[in-house]
Symmetry: C2
Subunit: 270 residues, 2 copies
């Protein structure tokens, strides 16, 4: 999960999100609208008898803020909460598992802030079941073949891997950049991602205010998307002044056509 503002657990329940397998939370920066939901979420996990460790990755300082609350309200948690502080000034690997890598993306905001780049690892090649049968390939050879190895038959004949397998899906890349002023240094880091979430707190008529509060306009978010050649842009983190978001969308689409509005409770597939 990325960020955890007040009410996050309520939204998750509304959307029937299963949390058992949620092991890592990535916090972009230590402003209330990105962290106030953590204590309630952790507390509820405790009541649900969660046992799996929960890892929280954030700029430094969060553990010190959370610790007194955890001690007072969650003194008998049946699982461990493990804090990991990362350096918001660096673009580096902060998490990795079997299928994904997560990199920090230095942002420009009033407090130390970082975006996140999620990169799927290359997947195994798809095995062609009929070829396996045809060449009578033993099961124990299959993992290596999925990784690209050729197969040598008992007669010494080499069967090239491309006859046995098909290409896997291209690994997907998603970048999340919020909160941040317009900041061109992120462009090479997020270049060519399939999907970019970039904050668009204001419209361009509030560009001065955007700059002073270190937020972005919709036009600026779209400019980043366009210069980084991303596949699709989701904007969000709108100022409360915009009851109607169409102006923001319109402004972004004029620069980067494949833009959509980030909306509560909505699922975006890519």
């Amino acid at each position: 999960m990325i960020d955890c503002g007040e009410g996050t657990q309520i939204r998750m329940r509304q959307m029937n999100v299963k949390t058992n397998r949620m092991g890592h939370i990535f916090i972009s920066h230590l402003h209330g609208d990105h962290v106030f939901g953590l204590i309630g979420l952790i507390s509820s996990f405790g009541m649900l008898k969660r046992t799996a460790e929960l890892h929280i990755h954030s700029p430094k300082g969060l553990e010190q803020i959370m610790e007194p609350q955890l001690q007072f309200f969650c003194d008998d948690l049946p699982f461990n909460v493990i804090f990991h502080a990362f350096d918001t000034k660096k673009n580096e690997l902060i998490f990795e598992d079997r299928s994904v890598q997560v990199f920090s993306i230095p942002l420009k905001h009033r407090v130390p802030a970082s975006g996140f780049l999620f990169e799927e690892k290359p997947r195994d090649r798809h095995i062609k079941r009929d070829m396996i049968d045809f060449y009578n390939i033993p099961t124990w050879r299959i993992p290596k073949i999925k990784q690209g190895e050729d197969f040598v038959t008992e007669d010494g004949e080499t069967i090239p891997n491309e006859r046995l397998t098909a290409s896997p899906e291209k690994p997907k890349r998603f970048a999340y950049c919020s909160d941040t002023a317009y900041y061109e240094k992120i462009i090479p880091i997020i270049a060519d991602v399939d999907l970019l979430f970039h904050e668009a707190t204001f419209m361009s008529d509030e560009a001065v205010r955007a700059k002073s509060t270190m937020h972005s306009t919709a036009a600026q978010a779209a400019t980043i998307a366009q210069k980084a050649n991303v596949g699709k842009l989701i904007i969000g983190h709108y100022s409360a002044r915009y009851a109607n978001k169409n102006g923001l969308l319109h402004e972004a689409k004029a620069i980067f056509e494949n833009t959509v509005l980030g909306e509560d409770l909505k699922i975006y597939e890519f």
Copy 2:
């Protein structure tokens, strides 16, 4: 406001509650579902440029928990947050202004907990405009007449107050009791209130669990209402297991007919 769980400010916005005149928050006990919304609410008040003091009345310990968060997230609040700790073992006056008195109600829960009794002060009598005109009573005499004084005319004739005024509405009394096990000691304190909110976390088939977690069943809430001779009972604080609340209502109504279900976003007039 009474208690402030996570998401309270979101609900308030949904209901268009004006917060400018909200000066006092009464916290019943220091469990997360009654306090996790405070930091977000205070933080938002800051962004809304509130200047009026905010008073928080609670069992002791809340200030120590809130202070580090307030310092980190709300270091430039344009208003003061003032904590008042009260003794949850005593039934005593904890707040008073021109129109209302608030008393603590010792409850029985896993941690120190208190309910609250809100008592309107007696209102002034209603002046009869036509009588004022008839006797040509000067404006400066009116406040005293509203408080029950007779009027003496220039000729020395005494006009009894009841000819000049009508009785005011009876002061209303509201009691809030949550979280608590079944606890008969509250009965004399809340006797004859117009409206009682009493928690009803479980139905009677979970009476053992209610006792061990120090919560009440719907039947117990209704028994308190009946023994205290209250006007109306609202039950609430239901366990998440009850997707449908009709069983709880039915159980309570069998003992105390004038019971209604507490529901999110609903306004109850009395």
